[in-house]
């Protein structure tokens, strides 16, 4: 404020969002041998009073939408909370009925924490679509049904977990070295040894290691059934993919001026550590921040 050299821009609080927390008990909902394909949060939008909507539409004829954002709430050891944006969509005040959000990432974050007895906590924020003098109050007309019997028991928030049994749909770990892999083999990690000494260009240059186990992914995956294909948007062919890798460290000799020195280089993604079956187009889940 008192500095001559720093231009000051005043800010104003402009948000009057309404936030609600949803708590889902996850105990025994995701069996250990299952893989989460998609988690869907369903909220029932209650009809707003027609008179109120009419008045609102008259005042702001082109602004009948609000934004609804879903957050995952991480309850940390020290009791503090951290929120992560999961999904967001615009919702019209004229709509009523079920609205769906993809909360797969939230369930994945919850799984990463490994606290199976902890519930999944989501936060629903209903806020203005735009900020500015012309922004409407449409967000004040959006209301979702709760578990309250007055809202109708069938309209309580729902979490749908779509899972696949990995015994049937997953990869099988390492390939059997005694059986040659073919297309009919179930997806597995095949051991391959890369002998660096076999390559002419590595001579007198790559000092260590002489070779390494690289592995690759071979085989095919069980395809989804018809009922899955009707439901999931990414139900393309399931293929055997590399899903986890490790780096390869090397000691190399390099010329620096007149001298030859040794260096360590770490080459990323050189060793396959895991193969999995997945459909193309499936979203890649993010890792939790430390």
């Amino acid at each position: 404020r008192h500095s001559q050299t720093i231009a000051e821009i005043m800010g104003r609080f402009f948000s009057d969002a309404s936030n609600q927390r949803l708590v889902f008990s996850m105990k025994d909902r995701l069996p250990p041998a299952s893989e989460l394909v998609q988690a869907v949060l369903r909220l029932f939008q209650k009809p707003s009073l027609k008179g109120a909507i009419r008045r609102q539409s008259k005042k702001f004829p082109f602004h009948s939408y609000a934004s609804v954002t879903i957050y995952w709430v991480q309850v940390r050891e020290d009791g503090t909370n951290r929120t992560y944006v999961i999904d967001s969509r615009r919702v019209s005040i004229h709509e009523t009925g079920w609205i769906t959000f993809d909360v797969s990432q939230a369930v994945n974050y919850w799984q990463q924490e490994g606290k199976v007895n902890q519930p999944l906590v989501l936060e629903v924020s209903i806020h203005r679509e735009n900020i500015g003098p012309m922004s409407s109050d449409a967000h004040k007309f959006i209301h979702f049904s709760s578990q309250n019997p007055a809202d109708g028991e069938l309209h309580a928030p729902q979490l749908q977990l779509h899972t696949l049994d990995m015994e049937e749909y997953g990869a099988q770990g390492n390939c059997d070295p005694d059986i040659p892999s073919t297309q009919a083999t179930r997806c597995c990690r095949r051991e391959t040894y890369i002998n660096l000494q076999d390559f002419k260009w590595t001579e007198n240059w790559i000092l260590d290691p002489p070779g390494f186990k690289a592995y690759d992914c071979v085989g095919s995956c069980q395809q989804l059934k018809k009922e899955h294909l009707n439901f999931w948007s990414f139900s393309a062919q399931r293929k055997c993919h590399v899903t986890s890798t490790a780096p390869l460290p090397l000691i190399v000799a390099v010329r620096e001026g007149d001298k030859i020195v040794t260096k360590v280089v770490n080459l990323y993604n050189m060793k396959v550590t895991q193969c999995s079956c997945s459909s193309e187009g499936m979203p890649i889940m993010k890792k939790l921040k430390p």
């Binding site: 000092l207 000799a253 993604n269």
Partner: protein, 56 residues
């Protein structure tokens, strides 16, 4: 395929345009210093312990 991948990754990390040519005599008496060996061993250990997500 793997050979090409290793070669490209190595050149990129060392900021080299082409494969360096070293004679046997150049490296014959080369001693790998302890700090280089220690770093290599620790990376090797980590590499076999922790799988990292693809694309890291």
């Amino acid at each position: 395929q793997m050979e090409k991948k290793i070669q490209e990754s190595l050149l990129r990390q060392l900021h080299l345009n082409k494969i360096p040519v070293l004679e046997k005599a150049d490296v014959e008496h080369l001693v790998i210093p302890d700090h280089v060996r220690t770093k290599y061993v620790s990376l090797m250990k980590r590499s076999s312990e922790e799988p990292s997500p693809r694309g890291k």
